[in-house]
Symmetry: D2
Subunit: 293 residues, 4 copies
């Protein structure tokens, strides 16, 4: 079993760490708010005093944080991950950031004799806990082969995609569809409801049809019962839409569906709903249809 490090023990990162511990790995972890990591310390995780300390303690160090700004915080500076990396170490970032940002980190890591992979996940907390998470991996293929057994302890589907940055590119290409599909689903659902079909029946029929992606199966039932613990809120979804829009401009790809469906996230925020799961976008479309939930 390998000596691992993990920086960022939030909703997803914490649960990934739990799986790695469960698989028998030694994991040293770090989180800005230590108290949130208590359950992992109870489960045998060691504590690292800083991202640098975590990187120094490990052969393979992971990070999984909310956005590029936080990633730069834990990566750079005297206490950052980069400062703790050296010859032969492997750094795996599981955050969703821009391909350009990811490639920039990879170059800095390479300059220290270490190797970096970008390994974002496709799936939710539920998928993860069921052991069904899929990972996409970008970077050097030999490095990928070395860490693949560890990645398989996280989830059963591990796809090598290509060079550094290409896994986060694929992640963004996938995630934009979460919002596009969700908005389309709401439009159909509202038609059904205003046409007289009970919302539960309409949901059931639609989720048994050919349009029911796993993402829709997971998220659209939240329309009826918004969760207390929010895993992916309006602002987080919009962050991914903005990454897509930035890429669209950089790569010259017109993204009309992305551009349009993104506006409903802004509208949700304007209506004071930013802290909910992004399924709350349903309320925006419902109000435009004169439907009260």
């Amino acid at each position: 079993m390998a000596k691992l490090g993990f920086v960022g023990l939030g909703v997803m990162g914490g649960r990934v760490t739990r799986r790695l511990l469960g698989a028998g790995h030694t994991v040293t972890g770090y989180n800005r708010t230590k108290s949130k990591a208590q359950w992992l310390l109870d489960a045998g995780m060691r504590w690292g005093e800083s991202p640098r300390a975590v990187a120094e303690s490990a052969d393979v160090v992971f990070s999984m944080v909310t956005n590029t700004a936080v990633l730069h915080e834990v990566f750079n500076g005297p206490d950052g991950i980069l400062a703790g990396l050296g010859e032969g170490k492997i750094y795996v970032d599981m955050s969703t950031v821009s391909p350009a940002a990811s490639r920039h980190l990879a170059a800095q890591v390479a300059a220290k004799g270490a190797r970096m992979l970008d390994a974002p996940v496709s799936g939710t907390v539920v998928t993860l806990e069921q052991g069904n998470l899929s990972l996409m991996v970008g970077g050097d293929e030999a490095t990928f082969e070395r860490v693949k057994p560890i990645l398989l302890d996280i989830g059963p589907k591990v796809n090598y995609v290509g060079a550094n940055g290409q896994a986060v590119l694929m992640k963004i290409a996938i995630n934009l569809n979460l919002q596009v599909q969700f908005v389309g689903f709401c439009e159909g659902l509202l038609l059904a409801i205003k046409g007289g079909v009970p919302v539960e029946t309409a949901l059931e029929v639609m989720l048994n049809s050919v349009i029911a992606s796993p993402a829709l199966k997971y998220r659209t039932p939240l329309i009826l019962d918004m969760p207390e613990e929010v895993w992916f809120n309006v602002n987080m979804m919009q962050k991914d839409m903005l990454l897509a829009e930035e890429l669209g401009r950089e790569l010259d790809v017109a993204l009309p569906s992305v551009a349009l469906s993104n506006q409903f996230l802004t509208a949700a925020r304007a209506m004071g709903l930013a802290q909910h799961d992004f399924a709350i976008v349903y309320k925006v479309l419902a109000r435009m249809a004169g439907v009260d939930l």
Copy 2:
């Protein structure tokens, strides 16, 4: 086994009839072009000289045609289905037409002492042949219970939705998502391709992810290999989008994703691509991204 009738033996209707014959039912069929029904006659189907003759010969008569205009042709007039219906008979229309049109037929059928159900399907020829088609059914619940065993010979999932017209309403609510999801998928795919990921890899990763609905799994591979036999072309997809837009106006539901994604079907036609499977919409978005396939 029941005495059945079937009007409209096209791509879908013909294959449904084949399944009914295979299940041991006696089926009398009618199609505008008789030659296209030869394979069914060879398989034991009887020929009816008109939709009326088919209805007269059967306890339960089905129809499955392309649009409302054709439905009116086979339903009305001295040789139409309605003329052949009478006390105790059941008429099951599997076409996708507007809920209002369907309810109007149901009222005429009821006036003759018969009963009508709307029973559109969710799925493709492939799903049908694999025996996995799902049916939604609208109409009187007692009537539904009587024909349910026959419907189960068509596909294993048969959902009672509600009153007359509500099954076609659900069908439209589902089908609009085919186009919305497809356009979103193309946008993501084009980002991946222009970012350097080979199209085959990008497709594979996306189709293994949480956004991969059965519909996307079936249709997006057509991007790489457009089929010779076209089951659902640009104009057929647009017909369903227009049904959705009409319902949106009738029921006062704003449908921004539908309205936008529908425009790419028009653009496909303007580019001379109307006779292809609607997956050809990919070419419209690819041209807007400066990508040649």
Copy 3:
């Protein structure tokens, strides 16, 4: 001075008739609700008992009604305009209907030895009363030259556009911009307001800028003060958007801005605002921005 007829004495048609009377023409008029025409009878207009009677009495007969259905009502049948037309007469329809519908009427008129022109207007009641209305005319050029002096009594700008139907085509091409421009204006205005600029200042600055079309100058101030007498409500604006969308499908022209901006008219109706001037669309966008007026 010519003997004129006028069918449809509503908000616009009544005022056009008033101008024709003012210019010294003899006008026989007809309106479904006679009481609404009393002010014109008081001003010297003669009453025709039916559209046919009006057509029989006149050398040049005009019509100006709300939509295609009403046009067919006053045009067809034993009491319709067509029945009153004959060799040498000229029929001028000022309604906004589809080019195909207009061409169909023109063919019927020609079959009776008469001639038809489509002559929709660009402008509002205010423009009309100020004597600044512009007219577009489609049809036979010689016929156009014969009635041009009469048309100049309605408004000072009279443009010959081309064959039958092409003037209503141009009218639709223009009118779709009313809604597209209005929605764009609202988006800018809401940015300004939420950025702290008082709404009156923002309106004034925008209406003094290069984007201020005459249509925006007239309509956007209604945002602050919705009128009691409504000249062009949500449903009327949507009727023109639908004519544009139909033409887009018929002529294979993708109309993304039309398709999108049209949805806000549906949303206005869903919010119970259909009977207001279509400037009420501002409320839909304001609600999506969390702004209360």
Copy 4:
């Protein structure tokens, strides 16, 4: 006459400087490429060796540059404008940048005892040369009153809008309409053309109608005759759309028309048309309509 400075002598800035010289002011100017300023030196402008030198020489110093990055270059650093400002001086920035960026500069200027105004213009080179440019001004009202006479030498309409940053906010709110209106106009024009109206006739009729804003009157004729000297290209228009989208997210205003119409600028770039006036967006919509120009 005042001692003025001007940093940024490009297409617009150079012509503004020419007007100030023409009004009798002493102007010291600076431009990154000195050769482009030769015509102004010939007209009596003095040369400043750096933005700082310009600011030191003047009572009122102007800047007018392409984007925020260039503005920061000429504003900051030992040779920047800020270094040359001091007690009692006035700095007027005419660039289109984000309100936040403008307010940030204003605070730095105030810290040195000087005052800043944001004074973007609405109009084109043509409007400017005709002496019809309008200016919007944000900042301290007393400061505004002091420089107003000088601003009136640039253009006849000078509107005080509010605090620092509010004039650029209004500029952005206006400019987003340039693109939205243009796309809508193209859709109408393409309908007319495919319906058989000659493009010149359609343009003329539309530009004589109520939707013809000054901006459309200036730009849409470029569709027929793209200019050699490009004043506002695809990337410049998109820069303003992005400023609008950023503000939309910051202020929570959904901007569906902006988001959608912006995509056609990206498509123009993908088709290799970035260096043209943004009227080239017409080609994107024309290709989607199967029309070749």
